[in-house]
């Protein structure tokens, strides 16, 4: 009954480094009870606050240690934090044993150190958050909860869904990865949210900047990489009950997880149910163009929704071998604001819509995402082999009352295969696989080689047409190496080759349109899309350098990233009823290419830290939906035509974060972000890019105490967010005024006899300020952001022994 996690620190061989004899080196390895290296375990050496994270082989090195007595602090999720005092008068090895965490996963406080050190390791700029952060910043959806991170913004669709935007780039320019498999859905759509259950996420890495090297096409703007790392300790079972409530949209949510492990077998199951009503905005009417739609009691009519998710994980863990099978289904249904579906203000049956804030009437959308993923890895002493296999099915439907647009028949004919109320349906089947081999050649050199492949089959249905059915295949291979010149300076470089193929199927209207040819009019079933068959190949590369000093860390990365054009960019040919724009693809587009220079500078001492992450970015051909002055009378039903075109784009920006310890328990912090984009060529030369987030700064005051009366790990945080006006816009956007919002959050852990309860509370938009978010889906029709919102999350962990 190996209930202990054994930490083995092995005597590492030392080579005398050129720095003076007053400095020493500490080297070690962290493994779990099955002699598996613990990757990502966090090592902190006090009082000098020097930290490290164990590498893929569980090893760590801390150099330049002045002689003296230190306190070593080693933590990892699921294991008890190990604290010991060590005396260093020469370069030493150190042996220790860790005790298992016998309460729950939530017992271990994952120090920010893990994140800090991962950030140092990478030459790209990353943000890392864990489930504790998510609960303290819980928003309406996963991206909403991450919005506070510097460089991260969202495109919100109502109160329950949002799309990721990193440094102003979103849609297919951001890759979302869950358990090593790329999450594939209808991310090209403005009204599509991310089908991720935020209760089921325990570790998120946000890569700010192009990361095609490791993640392939689409990672041109950044990556949201989520992993379920938590592994139950041996011969134990447990779980967590989460209860969430929000006042603004009367949300009630619960998520229950149960896990257990017996020797080599472990399992984890989770069920989440969330139900929310229409959300409230601090206004009693919304101006849709010059028409003023009245809102009843500030409720944004028909924005209620629900989410029902199930997850099951089965796992095997043996010496050096681990395999996990994840099965999940994420289901949501939510309404669209009933007074505006498209540009036209819509008449609503106010009696029907306002009889309940919880019902979902037309127009609404529902999404089902099924995912089956297997991740397997073998570990040897200095190498690791990983396999991932994934199957996904995404089904998204938009429903609205049948309204004939253009030449659609005024009364829906009964003889068609689809429901008249089904506006659009997208169904996607995705099969993906990865192989990766990594090896530590010697103390100075690590390398990695890998392949990713993906096959997609996309189907459409419904009365509206925007993109055709298509198949897509992609295959990529990369090699990556890391070399340490000294303990403080290392270089990383990588090279990747990708091949991609996309085939679209032809589509004809289901209704005839009158076509005038040679003076005579005939009724024709118009062809909207032809058979396009394109293939692409590309070489990308990346070169990074890190340099760490006692108080400073510097990083630089330069790389090329790319993105294969998506089906919508190649073959769109229809009216987007959410905007009343007629969108036309261009089958000749080439893969989008981007070059980016990323820098990171950070200074940290005990009292004070400041960091800046500036970047310069150049796209040789940014693919962009360019509004023209034309109208199309046949295909476009008289709507303005938007063409997909390419233009050169130059972007730069910076995130700055700083914190200063005013008092031992009180910290002042600043998080700010800025991005500027300009099109250098093409018809919109001089213009910015769509959905450009305005600059913002968050001034934060945070009080934190290990124990405050009966509350452990008590915290209270005050955020004052200042966002500047955005007048750098492209058609059809509107300039958006700046705003200031105050958010509060506070909470801690309370012990009731043997039961621990975690409570996180928030007040968002404390002053009920009426403001507009430039990148909100509803911005164009002048819907302000949600009003004051009290959020409570209660998390009850429990644990037992088998």
């Amino acid at each position: 009954m190996s209930k202990l996690v054994v930490l083995v620190l092995y005597m590492a061989f030392f080579y005398s480094l050129s720095f003076g004899q007053n400095y020493s080196v500490l080297k070690g390895i962290v493994v779990d009870e099955n002699n598996q290296p613990l990757t990502g375990a966090s090592i902190l050496l006090n009082p000098i606050k020097t930290g490290m994270v164990t590498d893929i082989n569980g090893q760590f090195v801390i150099d330049r240690l002045p002689k003296g007595s230190y306190i070593i602090d080693i933590s990892f999720i699921g294991y008890k934090t190990h604290v010991d005092t060590i005396l260093i008068n020469k370069s030493i090895s150190y042996k220790a044993q860790l005790e298992v965490a016998n309460l729950s996963l939530h017992e271990v406080i994952v120090t920010d150190n893990y994140a800090e050190n991962r950030k140092k390791e990478e030459s790209l700029n990353v943000e890392i958050v864990n489930d504790t952060y998510l609960k303290q910043n819980l928003g309406g959806s996963l991206m909403n909860s991450l919005e506070r991170l510097p460089g991260v913004t969202t495109i919100a669709i109502g109160s329950g869904q949002s799309k990721p935007v990193i440094r102003g780039l979103g849609f297919n320019r951001i890759v979302v990865v869950e358990n090593n498999i790329k999450h594939e859905a209808q991310q090209w759509g403005t009204d599509h949210g991310l089908e991720i259950d935020q209760y089921a996420v325990d570790n998120i890495k946000v890569i700010k900047g192009p990361a095609s090297l490791m993640y392939g096409s689409d990672a041109i703007g950044g990556v949201i990489d989520m992993k379920n790392r938590n592994l139950p300790t041996n011969n134990s079972f447990g779980g967590t009950l989460d209860l969430t409530g929000k006042t603004n949209n009367n949300l009630l949510g619960t998520s229950i997880s149960l896990y257990g492990r017996k020797n080599w077998f472990f399992t984890n199951a989770r069920a989440t149910y969330i139900n929310y009503a229409d959300y409230k905005v601090p206004t009693d009417s919304v101006d849709i163009y010059s028409y003023r739609a009245a809102l009843r009691n500030n409720y944004l009519r028909n924005t209620a929704g629900y989410e029902k998710n199930l997850h099951l994980t089965l796992g095997i863990i043996q010496n050096g071998f681990q395999s996990k099978l994840f099965v999940s289904t994420v289901n949501s249904k939510s309404g669209f604001f009933a007074n505006a579906h498209g540009l036209e203000p819509r008449n609503v049956d106010a009696e029907l819509h306002d009889q309940s804030n919880r019902d979902i009437n037309y127009p609404y959308h529902n999404v089902n995402h099924l995912k089956v993923v297997n991740t397997t890895h073998y570990n040897w002493e200095h190498s690791k082999l990983e396999f991932d296999l994934g199957y996904q099915r995404n089904l998204r439907q938009e429903w609205s009352e049948y309204v004939s647009h253009g030449y659609m028949p005024p009364v829906f004919p009964g003889s068609l295969s689809f429901d008249p109320e089904l506006e659009r349906e997208f169904e996607k089947y995705v099969y993906s696989g990865n192989v990766k081999f990594s090896q530590q050649v010697n103390d100075k050199t690590d390398w990695m080689v890998g392949m990713n492949g993906e096959l997609q089959d996309n189907k459409i249905d419904g009365r509206g047409f925007i993109i055709p059915e298509y198949n897509q295949f992609s295959l990529g291979a990369f090699v990556f190496a890391k070399y340490s010149f000294t303990e403080r300076s290392r270089i990383q470089l990588g090279l990747r080759y990708d091949y991609g193929k996309i085939e679209t199927s032809e589509y004809h209207d289901w209704f005839p349109s009158p076509v005038v040819e040679n003076g005579s009019t005939s009724l024709q079933y118009l062809q909207r899309a032809g058979n396009i068959d394109r293939s692409f190949s590309n070489i990308t590369w990346s070169l990074g350098y890190n340099y760490d000093l006692e108080h400073w860390s510097l990083k630089a990365n330069i790389g090329k990233s790319f993105r294969i054009p998506i089906a919508k960019e190649l073959a769109a040919n229809g009216v987007n009823y959410h905007r009343f724009s007629y969108e036309v693809g261009n089958s000749d587009l080439s893969p989008e290419i981007s070059y980016q220079l990323d820098l990171g500078v950070e200074y940290h001492s005990k009292q004070f830290a400041i960091g800046a992450t500036p970047f310069l970015n150049y796209f040789s051909n940014y693919i962009y939906l360019n509004p023209s002055s034309e109208f199309d009378r046949l295909y476009g039903n008289g709507n303005q035509v938007f063409y997909y075109t390419e233009s050169e784009v130059f972007r730069y920006g910076v995130e700055v974060h700083a914190h200063y310890k005013l008092l031992p328990n009180l910290q002042l912090g600043i998080i700010s972000e800025y991005v500027y984009s300009e099109q250098l060529s093409g018809e919109k030369k001089g213009f910015t890019l769509p959905f450009s987030p305005p600059a913002s700064i968050i001034l934060n005051l945070r009080y934190q105490k290990r124990k405050m009366i009966f509350i452990e790990n008590a915290y209270a945080s005050f955020d004052y967010r200042i966002t500047t006006l955005q007048n750098d816009i492209v058609p059809p956007e509107e300039t958006t005024d700046g705003y200031q919002v105050v958010n509060l959050s506070f909470g801690g852990e309370i012990q009731f006899k043997n039961q621990k309860v975690n409570i996180s509370m928030q007040v968002q938009n404390l002053l009920n300020t009426k403001y507009f978010n430039h990148t909100s889906y509803y911005r164009l029709i002048n819907v302000p952001e949600p009003g004051r919102n009290f959020i409570v999350n209660v998390s009850v962990p429990f644990l037992g022994k088998i």
Binding site: I288, N347, P627, E630, F631, G638, Q640, S672, G686
Partner: protein, 158 residues
């Protein structure tokens, strides 16, 4: 204070930014000129020709405009105008009238007044067009692709 460098940084960036002189103004549809037709709640008669009259303007150059007339028998859409019109009871369409057309504006125009005669037929092969509530939608672009819309509630009668 320590955040001064942060602010200085922001100011530097703001200063470095060249202020682009790009067109960021939408074109304007004016239906308040003398004799403008149709305006909200007006009636258009089948089998007759009416004169579309309104004024367009833009700060740089106008692009094109389109007209879309579709039935609103189910009251699905609302005009963009503040005034409310009397509507007939909701009914199912039998042979509703549809009109979609787009028109060019002479190049280089900053201001343009349309006086466009549009003939509305009595019916088609399927018979007479349905009387009732219709929606008259005008969309205007400028050369850069900015657009403005007007959605008017009208009646169409025989």
């Amino acid at each position: 204070m320590f955040y001064i460098p942060v602010i200085v940084f922001f100011m530097l960036i703001a200063a470095c930014r060249d202020d682009n002189k790009v067109d960021s103004e939408k074109p304007y549809i004016d239906i308040s000129i003398a004799g403008a037709f149709p305006t909200n709640c007006d009636t258009i008669y089948f089998g007759e020709t009416f004169l579309l009259k309104m004024a367009f303007s833009d700060n740089v150059e106008l692009g094109a405009y389109s007209i879309d007339i579709h039935n609103n028998f189910d009251h699905h859409s609302h005009s963009t105008e503040v005034t409310e019109c009397n509507t007939d009871p909701v009914k199912n369409p039998v042979n509703p009238y549809v009109f979609i057309n787009d028109y060019a504006i002479p190049q280089g125009s900053k201001e343009y007044e349309i006086n466009l005669p549009i003939s509305i037929p009595e019916g088609n092969d399927a018979g007479l067009f349905d009387n009732g509530d219709y929606h008259f939608f005008i969309s205007l672009t400028d050369k850069e692709g900015w657009s403005s819309q007007k959605g008017l509630s009208i009646k169409m009668l025989h």
